[in-house]
Amino acid sequence: MRILRSNRHKYCADGSFMKEFILDTEVTPEFLDFIKHYGSLEMLPGLGEGFYKFEKSDCFSIKGFLNESSFEVRFKKEVMDFTSDFLYSMLYCYRDGKPDFNTLNRRNEALMERVRTRLHGNKS
């Protein structure tokens, strides 16, 4: 999965930075099954095609509808320089419906260490 472009950038009331991303393919239930390993996933399945919200604590949240080729991301501003790269990795590691857990797990560990250091000042 790839990001084709991003639209509508703005700072939100909670201080996060919001971007809308246009993807090269639709978000599927299988993709959500993949990313929920890296955060929490909430769904309101009764609403149309299914509203979902993915939260990667301390990093970013994603909201969108299943089967749509776009979603909205809110980045925690303080660590956005790290986490935006991870978002791209998360999509890159899901190619042709095949998840690459090994690569993303390594990147996730590295990311969270840097995020903890930046936000909390230690590596524990």
């Binding site: 309101l44 149309g48 969108g64």
Partner: protein, 386 residues
Amino acid sequence: MLKQENSLIYLNNAATSWPKPPGVIQAVQESLELPFGGGRGTGKTQRDYLTEGRETVAQFFGEESPDTIVFSSNATDALNTLIHGFTASSPEKFHVITTTLEHNSVLRPLHHLEKKGRIELDHISFSNAKVNPEAIIEAVTDKTRLVVMNHGSNVLGSVQDIRAVGEYLHDKDIFFIVDGSQTAGHIPLDLSAIEFDAFVFTGHKALFGMPGIGGFCIRNPDPVLPVRMGGTGTDSGSLDQPGDLPERYEIGTHNYPGIASLIAGITFLQSIGMDALQRRADRQTELFIKELSSEPGITIYNPDPELPIIAFNIPGLDNDDVGYILARKDNIVVRTGLHCAPLLHKEIDDGAGCVRISPSWFTTDEECRIAADAIKEIAHHAYSQI
């Protein structure tokens, strides 16, 4: 019109009205087709938008003299001109009263001046969406020189008793600025019956003009120094800013298309009549309140608004998520978040923000019902998840 073609339901008119009346779009196009006047008439090929604009605004607001009308980019621009201009004329630190209902267009300039040590600032709270005029009067001290408050709340749709406040301040040495951004075009205004020093309006909301035009009516400009200087097309040999209205505050080339849109927007309102406008707004507001109140999963913050504004939340769902779902699933545009009114939200929802619905004359009853059903459906699903 575009509205029918894409079936968008637009309920964000308290931010910027859409669609615009056909006459407004036509007026903007005509203004761009006409040659620029440059201070001298060119016979039949030109319209005096400035004079016509001031006369139209003054007549619509019941203000006796068109010469008191000053154009600006929007209400925020006007409020900055007035607040900073007033402060510039006061060498000593002074006391200012405002309210927690205000928009950041008032709160931020005042907060900036407070941080700079130029003013002492008091925010008067509200109850049931209203600021009690007595609370403002009680807050007045011998150092109070300025009161700034809105006429209509952009979140709770309540109309404040500016007449009572104005009557009290009238014989005091206190400058009274009223932000009429949300009431101008929604309720009949007779400014001649209200004591104030400056009344601010914006063109792009209920007056149906385009973004980029607003202004204020100022009765006594002496205490408000010009804080921006530049070309006015008059008295050009002098390096001093002209002191007379409107050149005292209007600098640079005017927004002629904006003024043309404002004239056409007001003309449209007059063709309908304020009574008819209010009747429709009241009916649609009541429809939303009744429908949303019937769903247990919805919290309404203003069950009795005087303006067509309804503020609510769905417990268990972030207000931004509700706006996102409405936009993406139902093609319904609402506004979410703090609505640039952070102090108000601290009082009603602990600063989390809410969802705001604001229909206009162009919103149909059927669209209101569709939107209410869509909101109730979201609430129903959210409620069943708890």
